[in-house]
């Protein structure tokens, strides 16, 4: 598009400078806090953070919930995306509209709705009692289950949308071909669909995993202080204890986890390519 690179770079410069000043520099300054002790650089803030059993529990819980939400949304997402791409164009458009709809509603409103739905007198408990699965209301609110449900609902659309676009780019006759050649549905999925749509899975997986790691509102409202996650712990460290060092440690851990997840998923994708 451009005659020379210099022209292109010059056009990108204002945005790059802006991002460097208002984003990169503050982030680096903030994160550097976590690596300082008195006058020298050290990892002492990190060893101190991980030596506290509460912090370890919170770290593992955040990681576990992120992983579970990603895996479950991938399973549901494939089923939903597969069903949607096989619809007529008109129905497809409507269904995609329905998937996107929740993204247009503030996550605070969506999360508050779960308080009503999952409550002791909420629709879930009423249904469970009606069909006789439970004699008395089950406690969902302020448990890991509630946070899991909230996060899943929050991020599932991103997974479905990524998988829809991946499935649409897949050659239409790949599945019939595999079937004709005698593959069962299990083999079709793992040998044909998955390798051909892994790009979508990597994008969706990264969005969902990093989203679950860094969501604040959902764990704060549905989990509360009984189900602390890294991001709610971060908030507590800053506002209650005025402890910016621990906060910067947590922020760094979250960033590393997000990058690691993305790299790992990409690696998995390319590993399958080679075979």
């Amino acid at each position: 598009m451009f005659q020379n690179r210099a022209e292109a770079l010059a056009l990108a410069l204002p945005a790059a400078v802006f991002a460097a000043i208002v984003f990169l520099a503050p982030v680096v300054i903030l994160l550097a806090e976590g690596f300082r002790s008195a006058d020298s650089w050290s990892l002492s803030a990190y060893t101190a953070f991980f030596s506290d059993p509460l912090n370890r529990t919170v770290f593992l819980r955040t990681f576990r919930l992120g992983l579970m939400v990603t895996v479950v949304s991938a399973v549901i997402g494939y089923a939903a995306a597969f069903a949607i791409v096989n619809l007529t164009p008109r129905n497809k458009g409507q269904m995609i509209g329905l998937v996107v709809l929740p993204l247009m509603i503030s996550s605070v409103a969506r999360t508050y709705a779960w308080i009503v739905i999952l409550g002791r007198t909420g629709i879930v408990n009423q249904a469970l009692q009606l069909v006789g699965l439970s004699d008395e209301p089950i406690r969902f609110l302020f448990t890991e289950t509630a946070v899991f449900i909230g996060l899943l609902q929050l991020f599932l659309p991103l997974m479905i949308l990524s998988l829809i676009s991946a499935l649409e780019n897949m050659p239409k006759d790949a599945i019939p071909a595999a079937r004709v050649l005698g593959a069962n549905w299990f083999q079709v999925f793992f040998k044909v669909i998955l390798p051909l749509t892994k790009e979508g899975l990597v994008i969706g997986g990264t969005l969902v995993f990093t989203g679950s790691l860094t969501a604040y509102i959902t764990p704060a409202i549905l989990g509360g202080s009984k189900v602390l996650m890294l991001e709610t712990l971060l908030y507590q460290r800053v506002t209650v204890a005025n402890d910016f060092v621990a906060a910067s440690v947590i922020a760094f851990i979250l960033i590393v986890m997000s990058f690691a997840a993305n790299l790992l998923l990409k690696r998995l994708a390319t590993a399958r390519n080679k075979r």
Partner: protein, 340 residues
Amino acid sequence: MKKFLLASSALLLVGATAASAQEKTLTISVYGFAQDAFKELVYTPFEQKCGCKLIVETGNSVERLAKMEANKASPVVDMAVVSMADALSATRADLIEKIDTSKLSNFNKLYDLAKDPNGDGMSVGYTFYATSIVYRSDKMEVNSWADLLSDENASHVAFPNVTTNQGPPALYMVGEAIGKSTPDLKEAIAAVGAKKDDIVTFYVKSSQLVQLMQQEEIWAAPIGRFSWEGFTKLGLPIKWATPKEGQTGGMNVMVLTKGSKNQDLALQFMDFWLSTEIQTALAEKLVDSPANKEVKVSPEIAENLTYGEETVKNLKLIPSAVALDNREAWLSEWNAQVGQ
């Protein structure tokens, strides 16, 4: 962008007034809540009276104290309102000055509790609140703070997190109730920790409790009196407990910055805020419970405040020194026993 424009025009305005007249200014540091009401009832009337300009800084007390500490060499803020314990912390950090109460004409109208909360002459209380238990009177009976932790009740209780203002006072009263009351709150925290799986949530924002009560998620919770009004509107049988160990609570106080150049003006402002007229106005709008005992309000208003000689006399407040010296220990004990 809009904010930026507003801020810059505000700056221009400030610059303009400072240039046009050598007007006196007083900088105050207050909690961020109910600022519209304070502006109408306190700030603007005072500005008219003194012919001076008020600059109001708001924020939570951690932020505001950190700022005062940072500006210690040349103070920006002339007077601040903080919690009782934070006032002691400011005293220890040498940020504030003794208050010359002889210059406060309304000083003798204050409840004794408010006259010198920390016993060092460094602060004057301007409002306080009772903390007790709000509960569903058709579902349970609350006669003691220990009732919150009974086997039948614990699974219907929201307890304040230790990091909130209600947390330590509530734990302090649980300690009194189980007969093991020590400044480190160790036994009380252990008693709550033993029920941590039953207790519905350890709340951080009291605003959430009304909804939980409405959904029957909880039947009881320790709250500050300032949150009571919301519960009365639910149309449920809800009562304010008067436990046999008494009620606890907290007090907010006024302090005078050390090295402030406007101390006389700051004292005038404090005196104005403590006057019967202003304290009555704040009480009637349900902004703050009065520390001035001459304030008379209707029973309906009193119902939503911490009001009256008898109530005030029976408040069991945690002494500031205890709160300050134990804060860190409470938090780590809580994290070990309750936080998971």
